[in-house]
Point group: C2
Chain length 217, copies 2
């Protein structure tokens, strides 16, 4: 009985995610859902990299947080449109929240829509929001043991960003352990090493982003 | 209707948490639920500090993780009894999982039982497991903006541990911002600064632990 309830909730959620995806496909925008633990650097990544996209590329962000508009305020100079979604006690963004977010945006003026999900390695991984791609961040200070401990998050990633790599030497971070764990659950997603302090890896992230967008007719 | 379902789930959960607390009270043990984001240093804190407790103090740990027994293996030399609880896709420990954990322990041989919750700043905060105290960790690399963004977690804390403070200068961490945010939601819990690399703050954490335990007759 309990399983049936959960299944029907996820079925309804997936159906609404498909509606969201259809709306975005209709205007030809590319949607990227960004997931990670709290403090892995999702906002900083967007803040620094979106202004580096080629001139004329139009971006928007739906920013999820339990409380505050701090992240939206940080992003207002990096993207043309920013909408904050506060979930209260909600541990992940839902397709219905994204639906309302889409209503609040001018979809015809967007090439890339980024969804900055709630900082949480567990719950957001279970919910399709209608995105086209998933980017998962794992920051060096979180430790090199997290891939095997939170496998669902990494299994569903289309790209994996190892962030704050400038701290790797100081923290004696074992990259091989991460790659070894990933080799068992996701060999398709490229793994990029980034530091927002030094700028290392930003080019590779921008190249990946550009490659996700089908050439316009 | 949906709200009623959630309420009855939480009522049943709270009832079982009270049963757990009753079992622990009956044998006179003190239970501390440890919560934080992934990679804040919960396991390292226990690994380093439990062997520093006064001789004769008997400890046990219930370790929650989605997958793997890595944390339990790390703790086997630090506590006399360690039980790993794997939740699969579960985003928090539940009172029924703690009930099974209590069944697996020799409760009469424990002074302190630590529950290392799932690394998640959202869901674990909503669930009483039957603990007597809550310790919440916030690591410096996660950023100084997290208290206001995850208020429920910090509101319910009995002690707050700022960890990895050896990175504070390098990361230009603003302690005042953290204290300012805390002053609005929780003025009762002491805030301790810790570094497991330098050992700073371990004494204060041990003093706090010892103060939570009623003197034996």
């Amino acid at each position: 009985m309990k399983i049936n309830v959960i299944k029907s909730v996820l079925d309804a959620s997936d159906a609404l995610a498909s509606v969201n995806r259809g709306r975005m496909d209709a205007v030809g925008l590319t949607c990227i859902n960004i997931l990670s633990a709290p403090g892995s650097g999702k906002t900083t990544l967007l803040e620094k990299s979106l202004p580096m996209l080629p001139a004329g590329v139009r971006t928007a962000v739906l920013v999820g947080d339990l409380q505050t508009t701090r992240d939206a305020e940080r992003l207002e100079h990096s993207a043309a449109q920013v909408v904050q979604i506060n979930t209260g006690n909600g541990c992940h963004l839902s397709p219905s929240q994204i639906e309302k977010g889409l209503d609040a945006l001018d979809l015809t003026a967007i090439d890339y829509l980024f969804i900055e999900n709630i900082g949480n390695m567990v719950c957001p991984a279970a919910f399709d929001l209608g995105e086209h791609r998933r980017a998962v961040l794992l920051s060096v200070p979180e430790g090199d043991d997290k891939v095997a401990k939170y496998p669902t998050l990494f299994q569903k990633a289309d790209v994996i960003l190892l962030t704050k790599i400038d701290l790797a030497e100081l923290l004696e971070y074992n990259f091989d352990r991460v790659y070894d764990d990933l080799s068992r659950i996701n060999t398709a997603a490229p793994v990029l090493r980034l530091s927002m302090r030094t700028g290392e890896g930003l080019d590779a992230w921008l190249d990946w982003l550009i490659a996700q967008r089908p050439a316009k007719q």
